[in-house]
Symmetry: C2
Subunit: 700 residues, 2 copies
């Protein structure tokens, strides 16, 4: 690592007079300007290749009660520094990540109160990161943030890919609209059935927020390294096109409890005139702290199936062991309950899954519904719904642990908390010990419904701390964590690589409920996935749920698009979500899921337009083997796949999983064709994709 510190005296002296600072990205394309306005308020702006990305935007805080930490400043120091180094993620889209930025740290002090604040900017070739730092100082030690007043002032009425601002859920469908159109669309966007909703009253949206300007500039706003701080939503002014930070409050309306000697998460603005660069950006990871564990040998990618989709299909399988809802953990003797005989997580059935996983090369089987309490799982206000150490009478922990071991399969633990974080923390230590004792090395956590402690929100400071606490406690037991309904990720999987996937967006489960739009997965990589891997749980082959029973849901994609998602939606944790019977039925298509890698040497974004299409190629880690995934929205299209990512001078066999000629996600989703061609680094393939279709290619 090479660090150059040039806190130049002459710049410092200059600044005291001009009161303005400038920083450029290493390639010179991005330019940041900073100054204090006449009121002493910090102001920044951002240009890309001479075009304005963000107009003059104010920064700072209002502290409780009504202490302004956003004006009356003078600059006391500015320091410049550069970084250009390479690091290796434990798991990732590429083997090596370059961390190259120029940094500017501005020290501010309020004239009268002598309160100090530092603003630290890092300009990468792909975007801007900045954070606030609260140095240890005499006149400020503990304070409460009433609001962060950071602005992101846009230059026009951009196109936005947005979900409503909400303190408790990210599981909305995306709406694509101009900023000026949002107000008319927000009612419908908000009024959807979700288990826990706390929508922001004013016009607001969530991050990662993807935008496109009329001039074809792509802008993505999010945050990096969210720790001990609430998540940031964005207020939207649809007249001035100004966005401003809106932190998630706690139970009493406060936004954050801060002790000086600390800093905020990074506010991130990824910018490019090519949408592919947004997906290729590793800036958010670069802004996170390095891995905090010494031994990472136990952190592995996981391909899994699970006792899961059968709960959603309408086939009649249940999480609960009995129909008696009047159960009380610690009091009810579950062995005395009358079994409902629809309980999915029974020993025999789980063994079938283990057998299927074992014979098809999977790593693991997720089992939901194994533990006491599911009878009452919708009791959202109940502090203690589940035991995390007591299995149902028909789930033999020891026997299954032994059986899985023989079959070289791991069982993935499931901890649905129904958002009683208080109770989960009480049981956590015992639950992790129980996992270790029974050979589990990964847990899927769930946070359905409103939070306990009551009044807290999924995305507030206390819950942010909770998720990190769970991840770090799990790490002590060498356990990997896949959190569902937690706050959306901000690159913390660099620091805690065992927290290897999250849901935190509308995932496949909605295919069995209110549905997923065909463009959804062309947006997610530009939004939710900017923060980290998603356990999207693709792989649904039987998309017409009416075959199972009374449900009428139909999948929003073709089968081929389901395959392509394993490449376009990066995650080191990937599920084949459908029932084994459907994989047996479509054995040739299933082969792609069996083959596809989870960890990569290189990633090549071949084509990308948010809301329309994405084509990505990736090279398997440590192997001369590539996988390509291409998807489209409701419009069929022809993907142009350029194989120049292959090593020159060599030919490879490419197996192409393509939509059938008459394939269409509505009328003919199960039509696909598999063919083999020979490709080399000069090959270019024009590949037809059906309406909400896709293409998946494996190359050896």
């Amino acid at each position: 690592m090479k660090k150059i510190l040039f806190s130049c005296l002459f710049i410092f002296v200059l600044n005291l007079f001009t009161n303005a600072q400038e920083l450029k990205s290493p390639d010179g394309n991005l330019k940041l300007e900073f100054h204090l306005d006449s009121a002493g308020s910090p102001v920044y702006s951002l240009d890309f290749k001479g075009k304005e990305v963000l107009n003059k935007s104010k920064m700072g805080f209002i502290l409780k009660s009504d202490i302004l930490l956003n004006k009356d400043f003078k600059i006391t120091d500015s320091q410049f520094q550069s970084e250009n180094s390479v690091w290796q993620p434990v798991l990732g889209e590429q083997k090596e990540i370059r961390n190259n930025y120029n940094e500017m740290r501005i020290s501010l002090e309020q004239e009268k109160s002598k309160r100090k604040l530092i603003v630290c900017f890092r300009l990468f070739n792909d975007g801007l990161g900045f954070r606030y730092e609260f140095p240890v100082q005499e006149n400020l030690r503990h304070f409460i943030i009433q609001e962060e007043t950071t602005e992101f002032n846009l230059t026009g009425d951009h196109k936005l890919f947005w979900i409503p601002g909400d303190y408790d859920t990210n599981e909305y469908s995306y709406t694509t609209s101009k900023i000026s159109e949002m107000q008319a669309l927000v009612y419908d966007a908000v009024h959807v059935p979700l288990a826990a909703q706390s929508t922001i009253k004013n016009l607001a949206t969530q991050t990662p927020l993807m935008m496109k300007t009329n001039e074809g500039l792509y802008i993505n706003i999010h945050e990096a390294a969210l720790k001990n701080y609430p998540a940031m939503c964005l207020n939207v002014n649809d007249k001035t096109f100004s966005l401003s930070s809106h932190l998630v409050p706690d139970a009493v309306g406060n936004k954050g409890y801060i002790q000086t000697g600390s800093f905020t998460p990074w506010r991130t603005v990824v910018v490019s005139d090519d949408a592919r660069n947004i997906l290729a950006s590793k800036m958010i990871l670069n802004l996170n702290e390095p891995c905090s564990f010494e031994d990472v040998s136990w952190i592995k990618p996981v391909k899994y199936i699970g006792v899961w989709w059968e709960y959603f299909t309408g086939v009649g399988s249940t999480w609960a062991y009995s129909d008696n809802q009047d159960v009380v953990i610690g009091k009810t003797d579950f062995s005395k309950l009358k079994p409902n005989n629809t309980h999915g997580a029974n020993t025999k059935h789980v063994k079938e899954y283990i057998d299927f996983a074992s014979s098809n090369g999977f790593d693991a089987v997720l089992v939901e519904g194994w533990n006491e309490g599911w009878e009452d799982n919708t009791a959202f206000k109940k502090e203690r719904i589940y035991s995390f150490t007591k299995a149902y009478p028909d789930f033999d922990v020891k026997e299954l642990s032994e059986y899985a071991k023989q079959k070289k399969i791991k069982i993935i633990m499931h901890h649905e908390t129904t958002s009683s974080a208080s109770e989960y923390e009480r049981q956590l230590n015992d639950a992790l010990d129980f996992m270790t004792a029974n050979n589990y090395n990964a847990v899927k956590t769930g946070y359905v419904g409103p939070i306990i402690p009551r009044g807290e929100h999924h995305d507030g400071q206390q819950m942010v701390n909770h998720y990190t606490y769970v991840a770090t406690e799990a790490a002590k037991h060498k356990i990997m964590v896949d959190s569902h309904e937690a706050v959306r990720p901000t690159g913390l999987h660099r620091t805690y690589p065992n927290w290897f996937a999250q849901e935190s967006a509308r995932g496949t489960e909605f295919e069995s409920m209110e549905g997923i739009h065909p463009d959804h997965t062309t947006i997610l990589p530009f939004t939710r996935l900017m923060g980290g891997p998603m356990d999207y749980t693709p792989g649904i082959f039987q998309g017409d749920l009416s075959v199972y029973g009374s449900k009428k849901n139909k999948l929003s994609t073709t089968i081929t698009k389901q395959l392509a998602l394993y490449v376009t939606m990066y995650s080191p944790l990937q599920m084949a979500a459908d029932l084994p019977e459907n994989y047996i039925r479509f054995k040739d298509a299933f082969q792609f899921i069996k083959d596809v890698a989870l960890d990569w040497d290189e990633t090549y974004i071949l084509e990308a337009e948010p809301g329309d299409y994405i084509t990505i190629a990736r090279k398997t880690k440590g192997k001369q083997e590539w996988f390509v995934g291409g998807i489209t929205d409701e419009n069929s299209r022809t993907a142009l796949i350029d194989f120049s990512f292959l090593p020159a001078g060599k030919s490879f066999t490419a197996t192409i999983y393509e939509d059938g000629k008459t394939a269409d996600y509505k009328t003919n989703p199960q039509s696909y064709n598999i063919r083999k061609i020979t490709v080399n680094s000069k090959s270019k393939l024009k590949q037809k994709l059906a309406s909400s279709g896709g293409v998946a290619i494996s190359i050896k």
Copy 2:
């Protein structure tokens, strides 16, 4: 145990017509009437010896949102049952406790909604207990209590010994006044400096509430077995003299989250025309569940000294190791901080305490300030202030553990949480393991300041569950708990005898702060102590704090009264709170503290008038040895001590610790005299007590 169930058909049939029920206490003195009024609302009233104690008072609940569970009922069943048995508390004021009551259980059902509610009354000779039971039923499973609407309608403008209604503290001084005078006095009562206050906006008070009628009837209202429910305050109508339940809300204003198949705590009304019977009542203990532990051999009374009072005296000793407030647990290396050299809990100093404890027959030494974090102990909003497993650099855990073991002394662990219950629960398991590993068997917990989870209250349902959780987790480690600033006790020490003492009232520490009234300890046994033992920490001999430094506080009692408190304030945990040097100085008076027992075969309430005086004699458990304590308020008096509690026909030597002739708590508090007399069961002693003075007698 003898149980008679006579669910008499004829009574049942009768009731359906008369709609009225009657129950009498075993001795016939107390009579309860119950009926449904014309709106179908449950109503009860209570008589004592033909005099009304409570007028017709309504019962029930308002559920969220606005579901009335207090009217439209019909009676569907009534069952009667009696109990007359004896049980042995693990530790207590007497070896055996008689549990003798008549019970009436009324089953109610709402006409339209079919919601069911059961009211269970138990009438003892000393009072009434009643609770609500929520049976498992079809139309109600989970509900939120908006308010409990239980009334206690008094018959007149009684004299009350009251503290203001508050969700977060019981550390107020008592005000003695008529109900009609409360409104004029409440402003001064409320406006006092306390670390966490959430006073009820309307006129309200807390329980245990002691009252005296103009006719000389003594009435005490409290509750028993408070579990998974918020504590009850009482709204006061100073015109109608009606009291009504006011439950402590949670962070979002709800009062309680209930699943059917459960019940509320018991509402208790202890009644007598002799104040001594109020103190003698064991009704609240009888209404609690029996001990939940099989092995109780590890639960022992504890007499202790501690590194404690020196923090309050102004002598300059500090909890904190350094003066650097910018510390962060897990980040700050405390061994690198500059010591302030005033840190009380250092190895050398603690050894001095251990030596003193050992040579004076004590069981234990409390050490406050042993652990990292005290520099920032007033950071009330900070989630993580302390480590409960890392000692300060100058406190050698292993060395002190060994040293204490050699000297046959236990060190009492201290866990001040500054009310971050969230963080305490995260560390609890490790903290208890740490205690076990280092030979600790008791912990003093502390809850100074506002609660985290934020918005929750000390006395709300979630914190009630927290305290019970801590007590039961501690029990798994065979650790005893003495909780400070927790919800006031309700007899749960019967069920969890390791939770053997609490503070939960204004204790001796206030002698060094805003002061204690001379009548305070003549009221506490009638109020706070009705629920359970108090760690009042008496034994201050040097009451003039000006001898230490800049403080001007003067003790509110004579030395002799301090001695008497060891008898009048029952607790199996008793501290000799003063500095060792003062015990060396007043060695002869100190002898009483060394001698006094902590666990008893029998207790005799010889004289009692709330707010005025108390004289109690107790027989040491398993020994022919008695101790007598007598105290008075600011008025000197002559106590009449009748020794008829002694076995007949034998003489004993009584050592009398009495106020000196010129003793007076203001002008001459350290004047005392010690004399020996011979007594037998026919002896009667007229003993002069000084203003806020006392008498202490040991008999062998």
